[in-house]
């Protein structure tokens, strides 16, 4: 392939304490892809995302962003290259939403960061929340503000850990639509998701992890085939033709 992958991972293994939580993972993701990272609890999704962010030190292996080794990037270059949306969305102080979003572009001058922050808030239909304190927002509103924070960075790679957890259906669709739109515009999105139906609907590609390893990696219909659904998730699934593309319905075995 001619172009450089946005994210390339080779032979990556990560441990928490003595336990290996990511084992020999290889993958590469191209610009413009929205990749869903799925798998049961404890599959290693969060650890993989954190290792790519440089938050966990790998035991072995290589992480490259746009061809550059992650470990050679300084904090500022890294922040321009990747944005991380963690699962835990707490903000310690009751900062105004706009200020929280502007932290996403903290590597810019304050005025530039605020301009981007306002645009990002409007992108997630939360422009009206700009001056509100984040502690006074509902869970759904806060999730939008925190998503806007990673959008404001305009980083090439967005890593989102469970970005739709705890959101109502409208909120879930909004978050995934925005991430999809950013991918369509050339950014790369890797999002861990528990909802396989949403993963099937929005992702260009699904990576299934189980016990620290990548079990399969491919287009949704292929990656979420009957064997994987049964062996990894203990489910059976049916693919239906929906208005917006194929829809996956699930049942316990």
């Amino acid at each position: 392939m001619a172009s450089t992958p946005r994210l390339k991972i080779e032979g990556l293994s990560v441990s928490r304490g003595r336990r290996t939580v990511v084992h020999d993972v290889n993958l590469s993701v191209m610009p413009g892809d929205l990749v869903a990272l799925v798998g049961p609890n404890g599959a290693g999704k969060t650890s993989l995302i954190q290792a790519v962010c440089g938050l966990m030190k790998p035991d072995s292996g290589l992480v490259q962003l746009d061809g550059a080794d992650l470990s050679t990037l300084g904090p500022r270059d890294r922040a321009r290259a990747l944005a991380y949306l963690p699962q835990d969305g707490t903000v310690a102080w009751n900062l105004p939403a706009l200020e929280v979003v502007a932290l996403g572009a903290a590597f810019l001058e304050p005025d530039g960061a605020r301009a981007r922050a306002m645009a990002a808030l409007e992108e997630v239909e939360a422009g009206a929340l700009a001056d509100r304190g984040v502690a006074e927002l509902s869970g759904g509103e806060r999730a939008r503000v925190l998503l806007a924070r990673v959008l404001a960075s305009e980083a090439g790679l967005i890593l989102a850990d469970e970005p739709v957890a705890g959101l109502d259906p409208e909120g879930q669709l909004l978050v995934l639509e925005r991430l999809k739109a950013r991918a369509a515009a050339g950014q790369t999105v890797v999002a861990s998701l528990h909802d396989l139906s949403l993963a099937a609907r929005f992702a260009d590609r699904v990576i299934v992890m189980d016990r620290g390893e990548v079990r399969t990696d491919g287009p949704p219909a292929q990656a979420l085939g009957p064997t994987i659904l049964r062996d990894v998730f203990g489910l059976t699934g049916h693919w239906l033709d929906g208005e917006d593309g194929p829809v996956l319905t699930l049942k316990r075995l």
Binding site: C53, G54, P75, P86, T90, V91, W93, E99, L103
Partner: protein
Amino acid sequence: MTSSRINLMLALTLAVALIAALTLGEVGLDGAQYAQAFADPASGPGLILWQVRAPRAVCAGVVGAALGLSGALMQGLLRNPLAEPGVLGVSATASLGGALVLVAGAGMVTGAVELAAMAGAGIGAALLVAFAARIRAPEALILFGVALSSFAGAATALIFNLSPSPIATAEVMAWLLGSVQNRGWGDVLWVSVALVPAAVLAGLSAPGLKALSLGDETARTLGLPLDRLRVLALIAASLAAGAAVATAGVIGFVGLVAPHLVRASVRADPGRVLVPSALAGGLILVVADMMTRITPTDQELKLGVFTALVGAPLFALIAWRAARAWRV
């Protein structure tokens, strides 16, 4: 209200409080005596005003500012509205450092007590930051602070216990109760020498404190040299707390209450809260020192005793509110 307006307002109020503090003392001065004090600083009234009352009031102001700054820094660093040098044991580790030097008989060596107190504060604050980096629950940090405080208190008590000299023990005890009584311009200078670099380092660390609002991990991905900023904030908090303890003993709760009072006026920004917290801390302590002097007791109330009596219930109130916020 913009932060420069709140800062100006606090600075003006602090100036008024300092002037009011100059009018308070054991000896009543009349108008003519004030005029004489201004005209001739070496006269009797001049000495009372410029060598007794003024250094005491200014000392209360700078010690309060150091405590307010230290509290605001620790709250930002640890992302916890209950953090402050007294509650989390940093004053206790600073006291331990100072007590060691005093009991060892090196109290007369210039700067020895101050440096030992700052080193003690630094060790205490570093332990807290190391703990907070590993344990996320904000309540757990308070418990760790209680343990640290108790341990440093016990070690200080052990020093008293084993000290051969009851005079040295009494000296350390009196110092630990917290007071700015009989402090001179030399003491003011000492706190200021530590406070100026602390303020500069605090200012440099402000963007890091704001980033830390999002949690340690997210903050690391925002492109700021977080480790360096955190170390700067830690050194600043230790310098300020250590200088305050070395000069005035343990004065609790000012570092807790000052940031709390001004936080809303800067929209909760842990970087912008630093300056108004220092000013509010100075104001609180100048007023508190006046209160100790006008309270009619045989022995003058110690400042540390007074701030603890007023501050502890306030701490309980703030803890109550914070615990409710953590639950959601």
